[in-house]
């Protein structure tokens, strides 16, 4: 019984990883933009657009990789629109983000219907048009070993390649942020853009590079949604994940590893709520799945209000830079 419970827990962790992958990619995307001082509530729109373009191109061309590349390109275009409005024209970053979310909602369905005439969906993708799980070496050999065997099979191996990509992106983000010239300048520009400017570095170009990176990561997240986790695009398939990722960025205090943990926590809540649905838990009663799904938002509000922990956003966030 206990080992059955442990096994179920392990499987829930496994599901957590799958559910958290788009959150992780989106949240890393958010870190770049927000660390450079640009609020990005358009993670949601970019995620949606990425998912749509990935599935569409994969479906039309039959190549999942081409789909992913085009997804990235489309998200970079959206990011550049955001940058054009917020950096070049010093527009309101929230308004611009909202506009992009609306554009993404409208464009994906409009173009989807025009292309496929399937109510805004893409046709279901075949196996060659999707990213597939990757089985690692020695899975069967290790199966015999207790504890390690199941962990290796369920938790470590047999994930989609983009799951691994997402996990790799966390240290990549951290390295980029903390070990490179670009990262140093990026962190500085979100705090004191004047310092970067007075050090002879262009604030504008730096911020553009940051939003481009945001687009890049969002594109991957979108591709995961429609061509790895799913098998095709359905309208509004991002379903608020971009906002959860934003919440994770805030919750993780704009730092890659804590943000990863926040994503995993939020992913775990979702995975667990899926599995606990309709199940009576001793003492608690029926699992409060709505509460579990709303918990990321509630926790973020409490954090922002300073009731739990402390949130320290980049100092210059939201303010257009003007000499």
């Amino acid at each position: 019984m206990m080992s059955e419970f442990a096994f179920q827990f392990l499987l829930t962790l496994d599901a957590t990883l799958r559910v958290a992958t788009p959150l992780i990619l989106c949240a890393m995307a958010g870190i770049f933009s927000e660390r450079s001082g640009i609020i990005d509530i358009s993670l949601e729109g970019k995620l949606l657009m990425g998912a749509f373009v990935a599935a569409t191109v994969a479906s039309l061309s039959g190549s999942v990789w081409l789909g992913a590349i085009c997804a990235i390109a489309s998200c970079v275009v959206l990011a550049l629109i955001h940058g054009f409005a917020c950096i070049t024209h010093r527009g309101n970053q929230v308004v611009s983000g909202l506009a992009i979310n609306m554009l993404a909602s409208g464009l994906t369905v409009t173009v989807g219907i025009a292309l496929f005439r399937q109510g805004g969906q893409t046709p279901p993708l075949g196996n060659t048009e999707r990213f597939r799980p990757v089985e690692w070496w020695f899975v069967d050999a290790l199966d015999a070993i207790p504890v390690i065997g199941p962990i290796y099979r369920e938790l470590i191996s047999n994930h989609n390649i983009l799951v691994y990509v997402a996990l790799v992106m966390v240290p990549v983000t951290a390295l980029l942020l903390y070990k490179t010239r670009f990262g140093l300048r990026l962190r500085a520009v979100g705090e004191v853009p004047e310092a970067v400017d007075s050090a002879g570095v262009s604030v504008t170009w730096l911020r553009y590079r940051a939003v481009i990176l945001t687009g890049l990561f969002c594109g991957l997240a979108g591709a995961y949604l429609s061509t790895a986790q799913g098998a095709g695009f359905v309208r509004e398939m991002s379903a608020g994940k971009g906002y959860i990722a934003l919440a994770a960025v805030i919750f993780g205090n704009w730092r890659p590893v804590p943000v990863l943990l926040a994503c995993l926590l939020f992913g775990f809540l979702e995975a667990a709520s899926t599995r606990l649905q309709g199940i009576d838990i001793p003492l608690i009663g029926e699992a409060p799945t709505q509460l579990m799904l709303a918990l990321p938002y509630i926790m973020t509000v409490l954090l922002l209000a300073g009731f739990v922990g402390k949130s320290t956003p980049p100092t210059a966030i939201g303010e257009p830079y003007q000499k």
Partner: protein, 374 residues
């Protein structure tokens, strides 16, 4: 530091928004063209669908009603320089308030009692849902934008929980409450007009439309005619000067957000009391977000908000017509137009400001000198 000459007020208020709207619509027109349809024909279809067909004007004004309320919600907060993007959640919770009153009071009280109480409840519930983020911003320093986004999701979770649980009508297939008794249903305008022997086509347009017009007027009075409105504007335009003037800045922010939430909550009177006659899931369906576009286009002024709402009402109603007429364009194009309008009238609002100012300066240079120049 490009210092363009100042833009004349009339150009700022009328010309610039029209240019922005024109550019937004032009881009959408190009997209329609890319989809292989004629954008001019599409516009014709939309105009016919919004105004010409019998009953279509009623539908247009019914949508307009929603937009007036959510546009006002954004505008009230905007006057205090607060960005309330929580209209969606505030309207949702407002619907809960209206619904609870209508469900409990309607079976035992007459319409003249139930409807006003339900309207008040909608406003009150919405106000609470706006007040909390306002408080957190004013006294705890949480970013109002993030908090209101989160409150939208929290509202949605609460409503799903209630509608699929306690409030769900027993034995029903979908999560919504039981239908309100007749005294909990806002009278439809066509019924009233037909009773006065005018012959009007049926539409969901109901008394809430008049309430919306009253709200527009009330908004104008509140912001420009009252002391608290003066304080709201002062806080928004210059919080330091407001502090100097003895205004309790945080309190005014909380108040503005509460009024803002109340406006959004009133949207529920149209949807819930006026049309659905029961609390249903997702009845806000994006109206709260559209309110941002309305307020941006309407320049936070009641007249502007009215016309922007009318435009959006026509887009929504006319957009549905596209589904009937075209294979490749659907009403989702409306979302696209909405997005373009927010982009060009909001984020890129001043892209054309400097060029326009230069152009006008060149044209008007001989007409008259500017008064009171420093």
């Amino acid at each position: 530091m490009t210092s363009a000459p100042p833009l004349p007020r009339w150009a700022d208020v009328f010309v610039l928004p029209l240019i922005n709207l024109f550019v937004a619509l032009s881009v959408c027109g190009l997209i329609v063209l890319a989809l292989g349809e004629n954008p001019f024909v599409a516009i014709q279809v939309m105009i016919k669908g919004a105004f010409v067909y019998p009953g279509s004007l009623g539908y247009t004004l019914y949508y307009t009603t929603n937009f007036i309320f959510t546009g006002l919600a954004v505008a009230v907060a905007a006057h205090a320089m607060m960005f309330n993007i929580g209209g969606e959640g505030q309207a949702y919770i407002g619907g809960l308030g209206a619904g609870l009153v209508a469900l409990w009071l309607a079976p035992m009280a007459p319409l003249v009692l139930v409807i006003p109480v339900a309207i008040l409840a909608a406003a009150l519930f919405g106000a609470v849902w706006g007040l909390v983020p306002g408080y957190l911003q004013a006294y705890r320093g949480s970013h109002i934008v993030i908090t209101t986004i989160m409150f939208n999701f929290i509202a949605s979770a609460i409503m799903v929980w209630l509608l699929a649980g306690t409030l769900m009508q027993p034995g029903q297939q979908s999560p919504h409450t039981a239908q309100f008794a007749v005294s909990g249903q806002m009278p439809k305008l066509h019924d009233m007009l037909n009773a006065l022997s005018f012959n009007v086509a049926a539409s969901p347009l109901n008394l809430s439309f008049l309430l919306a017009l009253a709200a527009l007027f009330g908004f104008w009075v509140l912001i420009w005619k009252t002391r608290i409105g003066y304080e709201i504007r002062a806080v928004g335009q210059n919080p330091k000067a407001a502090h100097y003037a003895g205004i309790n800045v945080p309190l005014v922010i909380v108040f503005a957000l509460a009024v803002s939430g109340a406006c959004a909550g009133l949207m529920a009177t149209n949807e819930i009391l006026g049309v659905q006659h029961r609390v249903v899931l997702n009845f806000t369906s994006g109206y709260g977000f559209a309110g941002i576009a309305i307020a941006l286009m309407g320049r936070n002024h009641p007249v502007g908000i009215f016309f922007a709402s009318l435009l959006f009402g026509a887009l929504y109603q006319g957009g549905a017509e596209l589904d009937f007429e075209f294979q490749s364009i659907t009403r989702e194009i409306v979302l696209l137009i909405q997005g373009m309008i927010v982009l060009f009238s909001g984020a890129l609002a001043y892209m054309f400001s400097a060029p326009l100012a230069r152009l006008l300066a060149r044209v008007l240079v001989r007409s008259k000198p500017v008064e009171g120049e420093a």
